[in-house]
Each structure stands twice: as C-alpha cells, then as structure tokens.
Symmetry: C2
Amino acid sequence: MAASGPLSGIVVLDLTRVLAGPYCTMILCDLGARVIKLERPPGGDDARRIGPFIAGESAYFASLNRGKESIALDLESEPDREIFEALLSRADVLVENFRPGVMERLGYGWDALHARHPRLIYAATSGFGQTGPYANRPAYDVVVQGMGGIMSLTGQPGDVPTRVGTSVGDLTAGLFTTIGVNAALYHRALTGEGQKIDVAMLDCQVAILENAIARYQATGEVPGPLGSRHPSITPFGAFATRDGFIVIAAGNDTLFGELCRCLGRPELVQRAEFSNNPARTAHEALLREEIEAALARRDGADWLAELERAGIPCGPINDVAAVLSDPQVQARNMVVRVEDATGEGLELAGNPIKLSAFPDPETRPAIPALDGARQALLAELEQDEA
Amino acid sequence: MAASGPLSGIVVLDLTRVLAGPYCTMILCDLGARVIKLERPPGGDDARRIGPFIAGESAYFASLNRGKESIALDLESEPDREIFEALLSRADVLVENFRPGVMERLGYGWDALHARHPRLIYAATSGFGQTGPYANRPAYDVVVQGMGGIMSLTGQPGDVPTRVGTSVGDLTAGLFTTIGVNAALYHRALTGEGQKIDVAMLDCQVAILENAIARYQATGEVPGPLGSRHPSITPFGAFATRDGFIVIAAGNDTLFGELCRCLGRPELVQRAEFSNNPARTAHEALLREEIEAALARRDGADWLAELERAGIPCGPINDVAAVLSDPQVQARNMVVRVEDATGEGLELAGNPIKLSAFPDPETRPAIPALDGARQALLAELEQDEA
C-alpha cells in the first residue's frame, strides 16, 4: 500500500518504462498516490532486464519502482483492454512515456480519453515532446544530454566529451512531469477539469542550462567546460590537499578573507588580482596555485575540520559508499529500506520532500513482481461492480 | 503580471536569494502564480551582483527572476514588518532559502506563522535541511555536488574531480521544492490545511544518484566516473568521427545490429564479445575502437543523417549557441523573450511543462527592478483595507 501523503486517495495508472516516467511515478508514490503499473506481457518493463541483479532481480528496476502495484496487460488484446478501461474509469492520472502516437494507435490518445474521462490528467514524457520536427525521433539520456548543451559545459577543458554521471536527461524530465501532474491536480480540485501535460527530455535540458544562456548573450562567447570551477564565483571547486581533493566555495569577500587566514596566507587578500570576486575569477589559475600550495601541507580531513570551524562552505568528495553512511544523509532518512527477493532488503534513496503534515517512513513497500497485483486488482474491480 | 496557468490566483511571497529558491518560484510563476519577491535593502538579492551584466543589469539575475514583482523590505524594521504581515495575510505560499533559524529569529518561523495563518504553505530550501548534524552549515552548489556523490560519478576515469557544468545541486532542490509546493496546494484544496516543506540540496543529490546506489549494493564495488559511457548499456556515449564527436545510443540488440549495418560492419554482431548488451558492456573499449575506426571515414553530420534515417538514437554535442538555434528547441518555445534594460530584450529558457489547458506565451514579463513594485503593492494593500 502507498504511504500517506498529500496525494493519498489519488490513483495513478502508470504505463511508463525504464527511467523518466517511472521516476515521476515513484515520486507520486512517495507523496501518497496509489500507483498501478501496467506492464506489457510477457517481459514487462525493460528495466527488469537492466543490471545489476541481486538474487536474479534487477536492482536497477527496484530503485525506480518500489511501492507500485504491477499488472501485466496487453493493450492490443480485448480482455486486457476491458481491464484497462475499468481501471481508467477509477484513475485520476495516467502517465506514459511512449513515443508520440503510440497511445493514439491503441485508441487511447488524449482526445479520446479526455472525451470519455474529463477529469483524467494525462501526462506524456518523451525524448523530444509531442510536437516539433524531432517529435518522432528516439532518445536516450545521453542523446539529450548531448543535444541540450549540458555536455558542452561538463568536463575538463580540452578533454573528450563528458556525460553527467547520472541520467539527468531522464531525471529532470521526471521531475518536471511530476510538477505538472501536481499542478494539474490542484487545478482539477478547483475546476473539475483534467488536462494533458507534455514534457520533453530535451526541453528540460534547456531549462537547466541556468546562467549559461545569459552568459552567452552577455559576452557573445560560447561557454565551455570548466572542470570543477564556477564561471563567475572564485574560489569555488575541487582543490588538491596532501592526500586528495576537497571542495571549497568561498563565494564572497568575507569568506575569502577567512579562507586566506585559515590557509596561513592572510596577505593574499591584499593582492590586486584577488581583491574582489571578478578579479579572482579573472585570475583563477593563479589563485588555485596559491591555495593548493597551502593545502599541500596537510590532509583533506584536517583542512575540512578547520574550514568548517571557520564557517567556510566546504566538504569532501564522497563516493557512493560514503554518501550512504554519511551522518546527515542518515539523519535525514535519505536511505530507506525496501524488501527484496533475498529477504535481506535493499537500501534505496528516500524522498527529499519532507512534509510537516505527513510521516517519512524508514521503509518502503516491496518491489512489485511482474503481474503480482493482478488477482487483487481484479477482485477489487469486481467488488466495485457488485 | 503572471501568465495564466493552473496556479492562477495563487500568491507566493518569495524571500529567496540567488539560485535554488528563485528557480522554484520562477517555475511557480510560469505555472500562473503571482510571485512577490521580497528583497532585503539596500542591495536586494545577491544575484543582482553576480555577472555577467548587460547594460549594467545582471543577466544571471534575469535568468531566474523574470515575471516576479519586487519589493524591498527590511524585516527588522517595524514599518516594513507591517507591510510584510499585510502581504502574508493575502499569501498562499511563502518560500525561503535562508539557513535554518533565520525566520525564527525574525519572529516568522513556521510554528508562529502556522498559528496565525493556518492555510499558509511554507517551503524552506536549504543546503542540508532543517534537521540533522549539518543543518547549520553553509552550502554552495559544488559542496553538495561533492558530498552527494554526483562528482564521484562524473568525469573521465583517473582525471581530477569534475563538477556537473550547471548547478544541479541548486536546481534539483528547486525542482523538488516546487513539487512539494504543488502537492501541498492540492492537499490544501481538499482540507484547507497548510503545511511546511523542508527540502535540502544534499538530500536531492542522493535522490538523483539513480542506479548508482543499487549498483554498489549488487556488486560491492564503488561506482566511479565513466566519461560519457553508461554503466550497463553499450554502445552508449560520445564517439569520435572524422571531424568531431557525436552521440550514439544503441541500447538493444536490434539497434546494435542496425548500427553495425550503417557502419559497414554487419559482421560485428556475430562476435561473441558483442553478442548481447552485457557482453558489449564488458568489452566496451574494444567495441569503441571498432566503432570509431568506422566513424573516422566520414564527418559527424553525415553520420547523424544516416543514423537518424535508420532510427538509431543519436545526436550532436551542441554548445549553447547551437541549442538556442536548434529547430526543435525553437518549435517547442523553449527560448522565450524577456524585456530588459537595453530595450533589445533577452532570450531565456522557457517552461518545459506544456499544458493543454493553458497557453505557453513566447514572451515573459520584464525583469523586476529592485523595489519596483512597491507603490503598486502598497496601493493594492490600501485598497483592500478600504
């Protein structure tokens, strides 16, 4: 069963596969919605066959589908269409991430559904959107990371192209779709009217380019990759210490003065090249040399302890193991336990939206077996009709 | 004035500065909410002093605050507190991204506000959240990118640490906060009850680690950076052609067979090392050599035309200039025009949430001058009281 949350009572029919769509419906589930995942027989969601596997079950699939209920339905078979339509008449939201046109060919396009179910909210997430010259092209995360500009901003200068190490092309599309679904639910609560939400992975990449678009227009220069630097704040980035890199971000004159004092180099603030943030940004390489020469005297952990005491924004570069055991991450319940096929349970990311009116449970319901909810769902539908 | 949208009629008091909070309230604005930006005198939002500048105005600030109304209020001065409280009694949502405790010291903590304004939704975005051992630490984007694990996954193997080239630490916190605000609005529409939303930048980094957490548990190996590769799908990434890199993602056997045919190397599918996706992932370097040897015969644009015809997911690695002029980006209205101080206008990212019930205008209202809405707001408050 779903957790309690602001969306308790909402029923989501989830026709999505792999990543962007399932990420959206997982967040809806964390917010209390009941998510019924419709999978295509015989194999179901392709993500069930993406590694890594634990005891034969995909941990990749687990990390995106905890808490959902699965039913396998072939939308080209008449008996399964009847079940789908019975579910539809009870649903508040439908989410799909097919290529444009697939739902229309099945007879379940927005216009047809809206005519029959005027309160239904219909969310479509796709690579390029429902309109425009590329609408029918296939997309994977790296395609939209490349086309959308973020790869041109990520990496070390002069190096080969670098992808963001998680699928932000899919994930941001999932996030914007989730915003759209919630806004549409609010609108429906006022008006009774459902609507269609059309979110494209490529569009979302444009929406997260942030200051890069403004920088290009202000300077006429095309922004390139900056390693770990910031384009307009210095010092800001990863710096080498005696035993490894740490992150330091001293974003204003006060913090910079404090940093120089900690480094035993208070005179640096007097130098014209470092006198304010634009000057420091213009002389970033020189300042980095000075900072790293000072940092080389001690280990990263020592520096972090000292910089933290001085109130300077700083931190380690944690790998995934360190993240999972971090005291703050633990204290915020950002690692939740989920039952899995081994009986030992699996740790997965929690819900970052902490709400005062609802609990934030430390466990989540099990990973749905393919078609595992069929009998219960059919019994429920029969009962409703009786 | 705000655009029409599902949040039309909603009034947001926006006490946020710089990036995560303003990004959230900009999306609320794009969804139709009226956003009243409260800025601290004399200088207002720090982002007004972050470059680049166009005609003396920050283009960085412009890209996050279009369409909002600005009033400068000193919440430690009694007359300004009266104005703030008059605005509060008309507000639906308050968003702030101070460090924890600041609003309490001003007398406007959640408990006090909730007692007086039970319908008010209160959203707090911070570096580490309102609870836990690091709650009071300062954070900048690169600090949470480092601590949250994404930097350990991004970059070329063996290279120095690489930050994602846009501030995904801030942006994802803005997105999750926006989801929370919309979900809370829905809940309030049903129950009349406001609630507090607590979103931490660090938590959001954990929430976008995606399959990396599952991979670590399945294998016991700590995931590292992979350049432009995918950890479990091959071929997937950036590949060199005669004149530069293109992206190719042939995520299943059918697409891989089609790719080999296009490359003039149909026999590759017969080799045991490339016979299925796990095998290809295990022999990624070898496969990359074969693919790049074939790609070296022609230019990237030629290859993209051919691969597109064959239905293989692929694309260029666009810089920001190419993104802004891309036909699909243009067709999707993802570049909108905003009036600026020069009178020439500025191009900024549009809204990726396309809704069937509302228009998606090609322009957005002007960038707010500091305190520019004071007279109009005061007149409105007086009129309400009359």
